[in-house]
Symmetry: C2
Subunit: 204 residues, 2 copies
């Protein structure tokens, strides 16, 4: 299982950089999703992370494909309102692209269109999506049976859900507020890391 | 002299499309500057314009270089907070890029870095920049003597300013609210067109 930490667009670049550097040992990928930040601020963040030896392999740029290209970052996350997979794959064949999906139909289409991973949500109640009914696990399980591409779940996921998600074939999870709004982001990330370890240990 | 019409991020895609199609005969370039719109909405707008036979040669995408690339639009406008000229020219050599500048120093740097045109402002008082002192014409004139690249002025420009701007070596102007917040955008655009004609007629 892998952990994606999705930034929440609430911090200035220097504070965000600090949290990302601190949690980095326990995080597989960061999705940089700072919708109110400028391209310049994205670059500033990426430069600060790179200088602190955070690997670009761990960075995924949300939506701003141009920022990924000029920063030499290979991974982008495409939101539903963003550029399409075919536009991105057609014009930037060097990129790996994940697609955010909200239904089995979207998941199958994205898989067919060449998504390198899928991010499905939100599965549980979360403060980030107040008033929007969570989608639960049934459709997620359905998707995991239908597609072979890596499948991540997002939305209110806690360390105690990891085993169950692993059991229905999920490859990883993504969290936002659980890390970025925690008083102790490092411990929050570490708890997921330890939950993964437990499963992987159990496999041997 | 050339006219750039800069969109103001206040209309839905269908209404914006209509104004752009209606004014197009009198506009040399549209800078699509819709900061709160998604990449998807940019594409929707560009597709609608193209279907209405608005030439892509007239379209300039502000900030979202990725949108320009996937839409096969050759021109981008780079705001001060956006990707740098060297990042864009280095990664997307097929693009023509204009740089927005606010001083003679920025203008010289951008010219040196390979900007295909400069947009300097704001020169006069405008509702779009309330509370920010206009820069006036002195520095603009300075810039026009120093750089050879095409130089556009923006900010509160009216048709009666055209002759004077032409006389200090300005190649074109850009307007936002004068067209997009006018009750009669077509007449507003046409008035600039006629002011240009008058000058060009006087040259023969």
């Amino acid at each position: 299982m892998k952990l994606m930490a999705v930034t929440n667009d609430r911090f200035k670049v220097d504070h965000l950089t600090k949290i990302m550097i601190d949690t980095e040992p326990f995080v597989d990928y960061f999705i940089i999703r700072e919708r109110t930040k400028t391209a310049n601020e994205y670059i500033e963040l990426i430069t600060a992370l790179t200088e602190a030896k955070v690997s670009k392999e761990k960075l995924i740029v949300n939506d701003r494909v141009d920022v990924a290209v000029v920063s030499n970052i290979q991974r982008v996350q495409l939101p539903g309102h963003g550029l399409s997979l075919s536009q991105v794959k057609g014009n930037f064949p060097q990129l790996l692209a994940g697609q955010s999906v909200h239904s089995a139909m979207e998941a199958e289409r994205a898989s067919y269109a060449g998504a390198d991973w899928l991010l499905y949500g939100h599965v549980f109640k979360t403060n980030c999506k107040r008033g929007v009914e969570p989608r639960g696990l049934a459709e997620l399980h359905e998707i995991s049976k239908k597609v072979t591409v890596d499948l991540y779940a997002i939305g209110g996921i806690k360390p105690e859900h990891i085993e169950m998600l692993h059991d229905i074939g999920i490859n990883g999870i993504a969290v936002m507020s659980t890390i970025f709004e925690s008083n102790d982001p490092v411990s929050a990330a570490k708890e997921f890391y330890e939950a993964f370890q437990k499963i992987e240990g159990a496999e041997f």
